[in-house]
Subunit: 326 residues, 2 copies
């Protein structure tokens, strides 16, 4: 949760004059999104989200994911749509940062997702993957297997002080995954960060998928693996087979996993766990003085990694292969 | 800016069933208020603010300031009005904390108040003082002169490490103000924390005064002095005589200052500076590990204190006595 950049009313009013979204009535910095500064605007025409893009979101990537949101929304995926300025731009500059205005999606994110919500997010993820198939832009995933060694090198010295044996775990896992990472699975647009706080619900109905700055082109089933980690573990770290079954079945109803995807899912889940373990470790070692952000616990993902190391096949995630075969 | 307590959707939905304010559509933690956790709610009936009261706000004081907001709003002061629950209560409990729902006021707070806004807030403060005259409840001000020595004792050891000579400044000022503090000035309900982030504007028109947890019964002109410090200094620490004149004239149009109030205003301004210097010093020495709040700079108020020590009379604030005489 964060507001990194305070926006002055005068600058905001000036920025909004470039849009046809009404007169500014109020704006509040909101405690959502760990990468950007977000404000909820009320104007005479409705509610909007203003995002100022901070570190990790290079402005050259903005056209990719702002266009992606437009593309997905046009295909019926409930996700934020960028408002175009009077000159047709989907982003501009405010307080020295790239800034975009998107429409406001109602809904609440589930602090403790239930089984039905896990199923709904699986279905929503698959629909998003299908809707992204004809998206024309490309963006490589800087946080997939090719990016992990650099993260490891940045954070290696901090591993054992955090937990004895963590350095060896990371080192061995990285060596293993670099060799074993699958090369021929179906690819497409992935969200790459679909945690519960990026999924809005009204009741158990998915009302929106938000926060696309990590979206990229990568292995589709890697996105499935990221969600498996993010949605199907309990606060006490136990893997919830019922939620995993609901999630995987929900996904497969829309887009059945191929036999190769099913086969590689435990491996992809190890990779997804390593990715968040590494970025959290880097973040925990680089908290700036006076930061308003509480770093997330890297060890949560060390536990998940160890769990997936013990998994033999997708059956350990609660599904019979036949239920999700393409 | 802070959200101290994360509110789970289930608990919130349950809490809202006690109110007749519609179905919950969304809620966002907002980065406003340093003492409480605040959420902006959208329901099927409109926008509301949910506040969870954290430290420093004792639940026995809630009836005072929630009733005060109702009282002031009934008398035409634009301030938040608490929503009553189905059982008629103005607050309840959520996530183990006292919690209230208030209506949402549109407007933006000025990061750099202009002269017209300083005048408007002066006028608004005076109107609030007048509207509070018949408010029946009483609450002593724990952060007036009687409370400063305890704050000094809590923070004395941290003074000189922050700035050489600060301990002596605080010690001498406290001794002086305890003896010189006026005893017979007009009293009433004061806001006690009317900083620019607690005043909403639409253009230069004051659209709302918010955040009443420091409200209490005290010397009215002490509230004037608090605002003089909060509104009439520039970011480079210079006192802006034009803004002070606008503020004091705005106040006096609604409620002319008595001769005794004018005479004591520099002294009250020293007290107001000392109060925020002390609480900021205490806060800066007690930042909890992992805090999401950046403590405010105590030394800003040391500079203001030294400025007021150099002031001879209210004329140094840019007004001729005749302009504001009662």
């Amino acid at each position: 949760m964060a507001v990194y950049t305070d926006v002055a009313a005068d600058e905001l009013a000036e920025f909004l004059r470039g849009y046809d979204i009404g007169e500014l009535l109020s704006y509040k910095g909101i405690a959502e999104g760990v990468e950007n500064s977000n404000y909820l605007l009320h104007t005479s025409k409705g509610s909007f989200i203003l995002t100022l893009y901070e570190k990790r979101v290079a402005s050259e990537d903005l056209p990719y994911f702002l266009s992606l949101m437009s593309h997905l929304a046009e295909r019926g995926i409930r996700c934020p749509q960028p408002e175009k300025s009077r000159s047709g731009a989907v982003f501009g500059a405010l307080m020295g940062r790239p800034a975009a205005i998107i429409n406001f999606l109602e809904g609440v994110w589930p602090r403790r997702p239930n089984v039905a919500q896990c199923g709904a997010v699986g279905e929503g993820l698959a629909k998003m993957h299908l809707a992204g198939q004809d998206f024309p832009l490309q963006r490589a995933n800087p946080l997939s297997v090719g990016g992990w060694r650099a993260l490891f090198e940045q954070s290696a010295a901090g591993a054992d002080p955090l937990q004895h044996g963590l350095h060896a775990l990371l080192h061995a896992e990285l060596d293993y995954l670099e060799h074993a990472w699958p090369k021929h699975l179906p690819e497409g647009v992935i969200h790459a960060d679909l945690f519960p706080d990026n999924a809005f619900f009204l009741g158990d109905t998915l009302s929106g998928i938000i926060d696309f700055p990590f979206a990229c082109n990568d292995i589709l089933a890697y996105d499935v693996a990221i969600c498996l980690n993010a949605w199907c573990f309990e606060p006490d770290h136990a893997f919830n087979v019922t939620k995993a079954r609901a999630f995987l079945n929900g996904y497969s109803r829309e887009r059945p996993l191929t036999a190769a995807e099913q086969d590689k899912l435990p491996l992809l889940a190890r990779g997804a766990a390593l990715r968040f373990l590494l970025t959290r470790l880097v973040d925990s070692l680089n908290v700036p003085a006076g930061a308003l952000v509480r770093p997330k616990d890297p060890l949560e993902y060390a536990r998940k990694l160890r769990f997936h190391q013990s998994v033999d096949s997708i059956r350990d995630y609660g599904v019979t292969a036949s239920g999700v075969v393409a």
